[in-house]
Amino acid sequence: MTVTVLRTGPLAVFKDAGRPGHAHQGVAPSGAVDRAAYARANALAGNPSGAAVLECTLGGLRVRFDEPAVVVLTGTDAVLTVDGERTGVEEVVEVPAGATVAVTMPRRGLRSYLAVRGGFAVPPVLGSRSTDQLGMGPARPAPGDVLRIGPVPGNPGDTPALAPPADGPLEVDLGPRDDWFTPDAIETFLGAEYTVTPASNSVGLRLDGPPLTRARTAELPSEGVVRGSVQVPPDGRPIVFQADHPVTGGYPVIAVLTPESADRAAQLRPGATVRFTRAPG
């Protein structure tokens, strides 16, 4: 089965569970920015957990199926239209042969995940079909591309988990370098409101708000960072690393988001406001 790309919208990239195990050669893990929505898409589509999907930023994707297919869209309140007919939010949709499927513009959230039963069968790079912001991985789909879909899996996929609650502060664990900041800075970080700036992308969510003052001004030797790391450069304005973050960072990390909060952060648009709070436990 194949899918023909008619339009990609602002940004559509292949994503899967990422490529761990290569950080020592400078390759970031990448993978879906909102992992929970990615996992839901595959589970609902009946795919195995590592199947490749399309991550669509702000809708706009339009594709045509040559054969009947089962598809689902997760992550935002955007929905699929099948030959112009709207379907429901996160509804499993059966698409007839020859139908055109489009992703609408979300009103809430940023990144939608389009899974097709069988998964997108682009050739993997270093064991993963994710394309990261630095270009590692399969080429981005372009209008006119004919994408192959893998064989339909025999076993049903995992049971879908529920969507995380959309509101409330993002939960963090302090560290590894919270001791590089003044007690006032920690208090500010855990109390103040920050705004997502337009310079944000799948590498990092750049925030504007009260700057965080360092207790130590020495230069930190670069060290490994993880998804959800809140790095604070010299201007004091935090950056939350997302899935396509580099393997190391050169500024102290004040705290790390829980995986659930990192998924919620993936759906924040420029202009959105966020607060941080200590995670329980």
Binding site: Q25, G224, V225
Partner: protein, 205 residues
């Protein structure tokens, strides 16, 4: 002595005294292949240990890593490579002036002392090389170049490095190599893996 710092729910950051200790701990962690550990990121004074929280926990990883006995022989396992370099880089003269030596002497010093890959970063296949001639300590260019061709050999601070692909960059370029730093057809695409000993050899081209 290894200090373990909290780093979220899916990683632990192990901090040691210096680069040699970090490389030794990295080698010991690789050899130990602890259950659930998915990725190791060695750096100047730390090793980030990333794990699958469905398989293990921060406490279990800390305990398992704390009893490892790094023996400092990590480099012996990592192997060595020789990289032929044509020393015709655009910044060779500037580097020589900065160090108050001749360009030939820059080449002699760059080739005369073996380097060690400390860690990878910046781009896939970019290894930060340390341990070269002690006189090397050069500032980055004040204005980074927007495009540096693959294979360019550079210096920055006390590090040397080879650009694996065309990219922007601020290092002082002293030469170039045709050796491929990054090749997806190799089992480990990066030529310069942490702990590998690197010797540069001057060639005419």
């Amino acid at each position: 002595m290894t200090r373990f710092l909290r780093c979220g729910r899916e990683a632990v950051l192990a901090e040691v005294d210096d680069l040699d200790a970090a490389l030794a701990l990295y080698a010991a962690l690789r050899a130990a292949a602890l259950p659930g550990v998915t990725d190791l990121v060695p750096a100047a004074r730390t090793v980030l240990i990333r794990f699958d929280p469905a398989v293990t926990s921060p406490a279990a990883v800390r305990e398992a890593a704390a009893v490892l006995e790094p023996d400092g022989r990590g480099q012996a396992y990592a192997g060595s490579v020789e990289i032929p370099v044509s020393y015709d880089g655009p910044d060779l003269t500037e580097v020589a002036e900065h160090l108050r030596i001749t360009p030939d002497e820059v080449v002699a010093r760059h080739t005369g002392t073996p380097w060690t890959v400390a860690f990878a970063g910046f781009a896939p296949g970019f290894g930060y090389l340390t341990g070269g001639h002690p006189s090397f300590d050069v500032p980055r260019r004040t204005t980074p170049r927007t495009r540096i061709p693959a294979g360019s050999v550079g210096l920055a601070g006390r590090f040397s490095g080879v650009y694996p692909g065309d990219s922007p960059g601020g290092w002082q370029l002293i030469g170039s190599t045709t050796e491929r730093m990054w090749d997806l057809d190799r089992p480990e695409p990066a030529l310069l893996l942490p702990g590998v000993r690197v010797t540069f050899k001057a060639v005419q081209r």
